[in-house]
Symmetry: C2
Subunit: 360 residues, 2 copies
C-alpha cells in the first residue's frame, strides 16, 4: 500500500523554516501544501526561493493555513511567545503539530498546548532534529543501553554555543524579550538539556543550580548561562553551558563507570551524510600511560536528520489517520521534561543561583 | 661549558616514582644519586627494578637522603599528609624540592613549605607533568595568547576521571583519610584546577561552588566531585569534574569568543611521543550546517613530558647554583593558586555547596 504524503502547512518564514521545508520535500512521506505569513509577499517569495511545489497555497495569514483542508499538519517556527496561541489553534483545527523549540516560554504554556493536542487527538512533536539522526539511536543502543560493557552513567557535560553576528544580540527574535524571552537558554540551552535528559533515559534531575555568571543583553535577555543538574543518587551529575557569545561548540560528553563517549557536533553534524562519535570502554593504566585510545565510530545517513524527523512525524500521523494508533505520547513527555529543566534554570537564576527542585 | 647533572634523591617508592625516576634518567641534565624508603629492602628492590645507576645510595630512611651531600634536590612522591614535614626538612637541608601533587592538604601547609623553600634559597616546583609538554606551550602561544584570532576566554570545562580498580577505593593511599584526605579532589581534581587556571592565565576565580553530589568512601574521603568556578566578570565560568569511579577521561575544552580548543588526553598523552589537540576559529553558519570543522594539530616530543619537567627543574636549579639566578617564584605562585581553589571546593562542600570566595 502506498501511503499518501502528509501535507504540511508552514506558519511563518523564519530562517529555520528553510531547512525544515527542504526536509519536508526530501522526506518520502511528506510534502508542503501551504505556507502563511503576515505578509503575502514574503510568503510568496519564501515559497519560490525554497522551491515549494507549484500547488502550494500561499497565504497572507496564519489563520488561512489552519483553515486550509489540504493541510494535515503544521510546522510552527514562530517566535516562542506565539507558540501557545498558534499551536493550540492548530490542534483545535485538528492539525498535527510539529513545533519549533523552545516549545514554550514555560511549562504552563506547554501544558495548554499539550492539552489541546491531546483533546483533539493530534500528534505533537518538538523539532529537536538531532534526536532523529541514526547516530543518536546508535549511541543509545550501542553505548547507553549496554550496562554490561559501559557501566552506569555518572556524568554528562553538554555545550551549545555560537556567535550571534552583526545586530543579532540586539535585534534577533531570539534575544527579543517580547518574542523569545528565554534567549540563549531557550534556543541553545534547549539542546543541552535534551541531550542530558536523553543520556539519563529521561530521568529528571532532583535539583538544578544555575552558575553565577549569566550574561544579558540590554533588554535583560540571557546571552549565556549554565547550570549543574543533580540527581542526588549514585553521584550522578550533569553540567551544561549555552551561549550566543562564544564560538561554535556542540559538545556532548558522557562518563560512565566503565566507558564513555563524546560527540563534537551532536546538534548539527558537520557532514550532513555522516555522523561520528568517539567511544571507549575499560580504559586501563599501563606502565607509562593509558590504553586503549577512544575509537571513532561513524554512521552514514541518506536523509539529513531534519528529514528523518519529519519522516518519523509523518509515520506517527499516518498511524493515527489510518486508525491504527493513538498519538505517540513520548514526544510530549520528553518536551515537557526538557521545559521543566529550562524553567528550573530560570528560577535558579531569578532566586540568586539557589538549587531549584524539579518536579514532574 | 658542560653542566654537571643535577643529582636527585627520591623519597619513597610510590608507584608514580617509577615514571619520574625514568624521567630523571632520561633527562640530559639530571641523574639519581639516592633513594630512601622506610624499608631498606624495598628501596633496594625499587632501585634495581628501575635501573638506578650503580652508584645510587640506597637508604632505609628519608632522613638519610636529606643528609646525603651527593643529593642536590629531592623528588617527593610521599602521601600528601607527609609533604609538610619532608618538604620543609628537605628545604632546610638546602635540597631543591620537586613535590608531587597535591602539594599539601591545605594552603596553610603549603605556605609553610613555600616559606621554607624561600628562606633556604631552594627551587620549588610541583610535579604537574602536562605543564611541560610542548603541546601545552603550543596551545598557550598559538591559541590562548592570540586574542586577535581566538577572542576572549569565556568558558572552560575540565575532567579527570579514572577507575580505582580492585581494593583501590578502600585501601589506596589516595583514599586513606590519614594519608591523602583530599581523595579524588586532590589527586584528579588538581589537574582540572590547574588546567582551568592555566587557561585563565592564572587569574583566580572570585567564587567556587561545589556540585551537590560528591561521592565518598567508607572513611569519608571524596571519590568524585565537581564545581563551577565564577570570575564574575565578562561572564567567565569554568566547571570541572573529577572521579575515581568513572572510566578514564582527561578532557579539556575552552571556549572563546572567536574560537575554541579541545584536548582529550591533556594529563597523560595517549602517545608519549606525540601530543594532539583540536582547534577552530571563526566558525560560521552555512546554508545547511556550519563550518569550518575543527582541525587537529599535533606536536612531537623526543622526551616525555615528565622528563621535560625534570629538565626544566634542573635548568632552574643550575641557574641558582651558578649564582646566575634566584629561585623561580612562578611555580610556587601557581601551586598556591591551585591549592587555594582546591581548598575552596572543600569549603563549599563542607558548608552545604555554598559559593566560597577565593582570596590570594
Amino acid at each position: 500500500m502506498t501511503e499518501t504524503r502528509l501535507r504540511f502547512g508552514i506558519l511563518g518564514c523564519a530562517n529555520i523554516a528553510r531547512k525544515v521545508s527542504r526536509a519536508i520535500l526530501l522526506s518520502p512521506n511528506t510534502t508542503i501544501s501551504a505556507i502563511g505569513s503576515r505578509s503575502l509577499e514574503k510568503a510568496t517569495a519564501f515559497a519560490s526561493e525554497n522551491r515549494f511545489p507549484e500547488s502550494t497555497n500561499v497565504y497572507g495569514s496564519y489563520d488561512s493555513v489552519l483553515e486550509d483542508p489540504d493541510v494535515d499538519a503544521v510546522y510552527v517556527p514562530l517566535p516562542t511567545s506565539l507558540h501557545l496561541r498558534w499551536a493550540v489553534l492548530a490542534a483545535e483545527k485538528k492539525k498535527h503539530v510539529l513545533l519549533e523549540k523552545p516549545v514554550a516560554l514555560n511549562v504552563g504554556e506547554l501544558d495548554a498546548i499539550l492539552e489541546a493536542c491531546e483533546s483533539n487527538g493530534v500528534q505533537f512533536m518538538d523539532a529537536t532534529m538531532w534526536m532523529h539522526h541514526p547516530r543518536t539511536q546508535m549511541i543509545k543502543q550501542v553505548i547507553l543501553s549496554d550496562e554490561q560493557r559501559f557501566g552506569q552513567l555518572k556524568s554528562v557535560h553538554s555545550t551549545f554555543s555560537y556567535v550571534g553576528e552583526g545586530d543579532f544580540l540586539k535585534n534577533d527574535i531570539r534575544v527579543n524579550p517580547n518574542l523569545d524571552s528565554l534567549g540563549a537558554l531557550g534556543d541553545a540551552g534547549w539542546y543541552c538539556m535534551r541531550a542530558i535528559l536523553w543520556a539519563h533515559d529521561y530521568d529528571l534531575p532532583k535539583t538544578v543550580t544555575a552558575f553565577r555568571d549569566p550574561e544579558y543583553n540590554e533588554s535583560g535577555v540571557i546571552l549565556s548561562c549554565g547550570a549543574s543538574l543533580n540527581w542526588e543518587k549514585d553521584g550522578k551529575v550533569a553540567t551544561f553551558y549555552c551561549s550566543f557569545l562564544s564560538n561554535l561548540c556542540m559538545d556532548l560528553i558522557a562518563l560512565r563507570t566503565r566507558g564513555n563517549f563524546r560527540v563534537h557536533d551532536f546538534i548539527i553534524p558537520f557532514n550532513e551524510k555522516v555522523g561520528s562519535f568517539e567511544a571507549v570502554a575499560n580504559s586501563r593504566w599501563t606502565e607509562l600511560g593509558c590504553a586503549p585510545e577512544p575509537s571513532e565510530y561513524t554512521i552514514a545517513t541518506d536523509l539529513p536528520q531534519e528529514a528523518l524527523m519529519v519522516q518519523e512525524f509523518a509515520r506517527l500521523v499516518h498511524g493515527i489517520r489510518g486508525g491504527k494508533a493513538k498519538p505517540e505520547k513520548k514526544w510530549a513527555v520528553i518536551s515537557r521534561k526538557t521545559q521543566l529543566v529550562i524553567d528550573a534554570v530560570v528560577a535558579s537564576i531569578k532566586n540568586g543561583f539557589v538549587p531549584v527542585e524539579v518536579v514532574y
